[in-house]
Amino acid sequence: MSNEIVLKGMGTSAGTAEGAVCVINSRADFNKFKEGNVLVTKITDPTMVMIMNEASAIVCDIGGITSHPSIISRELGIPCVVNTKEATSKLQDGQKIIVNGTTGEIFVA
């Protein structure tokens, strides 16, 4: 893949997916989430189940292999990258990215 890397974290659910970023900082942001978006947040929690089910990939600032986003992504069969430290500040709504849940790399699409 020759695209530019924008972030690197820990890949905790394998696979690759492309989608537009939707940054979720609070529940107020849930309404802007569209099916196929990449869910970008500090760390997911059970209030986000509905939008996680519609996400093409999940990217988090913190977390590990057994954290909520990692476990859920593996069950859904979508890529997940955690522990990026700055995904919510570096990625912007609508930005097209490619998430590689195997290597933990995030590219500009």
Partner: protein, 357 residues
């Protein structure tokens, strides 16, 4: 019995590339030392009262939680032991040796889930396959079951938080088996208690208490590690590779419509309970976490005629007190078993407790 080395290898998976600061809703590795000595002493009392040292897993399995839950209990006892107020060496040795023996008996091929969680033997797997009603799986079915797992798992994360998630969410296998001359790999996802009325009001709980999901795959290689309840597909796509499935709620086979309804119910309850948790203050959270921990062994305590709930002495230890500092580093990522053994006090525990006379 020398089990600690295998235990260290298996439990390292839970922390590899992780920091303990990620656990929710409070830093329980700092919280447990405030009262764990009393709780472990009470477990020892139950073991002695029921003479469990001399009983096999088969005889008492109805009193015990899932294997992943027993592994997680060991981790928490061992890691926090050095900071306990009272070092109950004999009780602690009795309890940890007992849990380790139960794991060795119930999962003899991989007691500490280094790469599998083989809770059933070959005969039991055959019996399961002949007793369940399997359906062919299309990609849409696999996605629906992914959503069901997500919803049930998220409700578990609400009901039990990260504290004892393993109590209500285990995965057994992978079991390689043959059915109708085809070879499959089976995972059994088990949610044994989605309805603990002792912990939360009914409005937050599922109407279904026990959920069991049988997934049969082809072309997918699975690993189950990190205490046992965590699945990782090493080769193949779990959605495309799922070929047969069955979902049972409280022993009843669920139809596609019932599964869809359950996904909605569990997702809504998960959201509701987590909002409640977020509204709780620090004192309420401490008491709730203590209750969640004690609930794990309710059946055992009831059998031994010992009150399973936190005692006044346990509650007094935590009331209006901050969490102690400095036991385990919050921000250091675990990168090797050797580092993990040192940071999580495993060597210290072996020297002080397991090797004690």
């Amino acid at each position: 019995m020398k089990w600690i080395d295998e235990f260290a290898k298996g439990s390292f998976g839970l922390f590899a590339g992780n920091t303990i600061a990620n656990f929710q809703p409070i830093d329980f590795y700092r919280f447990f030392p405030m009262w764990y000595d009393i709780w472990v002493g009470r477990i020892a009392k139950c073991i002695r009262a029921l003479d469990l040292q001399n009983k096999s897993f088969k005889e008492i399995k109805h009193l015990l939680p899932t294997p992943s839950n027993m592994r997680a209990m060991l981790i928490k006892i061992i890691a926090t032991y050095p900071a306990w107020r009272e070092k109950k060496v004999k009780d602690t040795k009795l309890v940890t040796d007992f849990l380790a023996r139960m794991l060795i008996e119930c999962c003899p091929k991989d007691p500490f889930a280094i790469s599998t969680n083989p809770f059933h033997n070959e005969d039991e797997v055959k019996k399961i396959i002949s007793n369940i009603s399997l359906s062919q799986s299309e990609i849409e079915d696999a996605r629906l079951l992914g959503k069901l797992n997500t919803a049930a798992g998220s409700l578990v994360h609400g009901i039990y938080n990260d504290v004892v998630t393993d109590f209500a969410w285990d995965v057994y296998g992978p079991y390689v088996l043959e059915k109708d001359e085809e070879q499959y790999t089976m995972l059994i996802r088990h949610f044994p208690d989605l309805n603990p009325k002792e912990l939360w009001p009914l409005e937050f709980l599922s109407r279904t208490k026990e959920l069991v999901i049988y997934n049969l795959y082809q072309g997918v290689t699975w690993e189950i590690s990190a205490v046992g309840c965590h699945t990782i597909s090493k080769i193949g796509n779990p959605v495309e590779g799922m070929k047969l499935f069955a979902v049972y709620g409280d022993g009843k086979l669920l139809s596609e419509t019932e599964i869809k309804n359950l996904v909605v119910e569990l997702s809504e309850k998960a959201e509701k309970i987590y909002k409640k948790i977020r509204s709780m203050n620090f004192e309420e959270l401490k008491e709730k976490v203590m209750l969640q921990v004690c609930y794990q062994l309710k059946k055992l305590f009831v059998e031994a005629a010992v009150d399973w709930k936190p005692t006044g002495e346990m509650i007094e230890r935590i009331k209006d007190r901050p969490l102690p500092k400095g036991l385990l580093p919050n921000d250091i990522m675990m990168t090797s078993v050797k580092q993990y053994r040192e940071v999580f006090n495993i060597q210290k525990f072996e020297d002080e407790v397991l090797n004690s006379r």
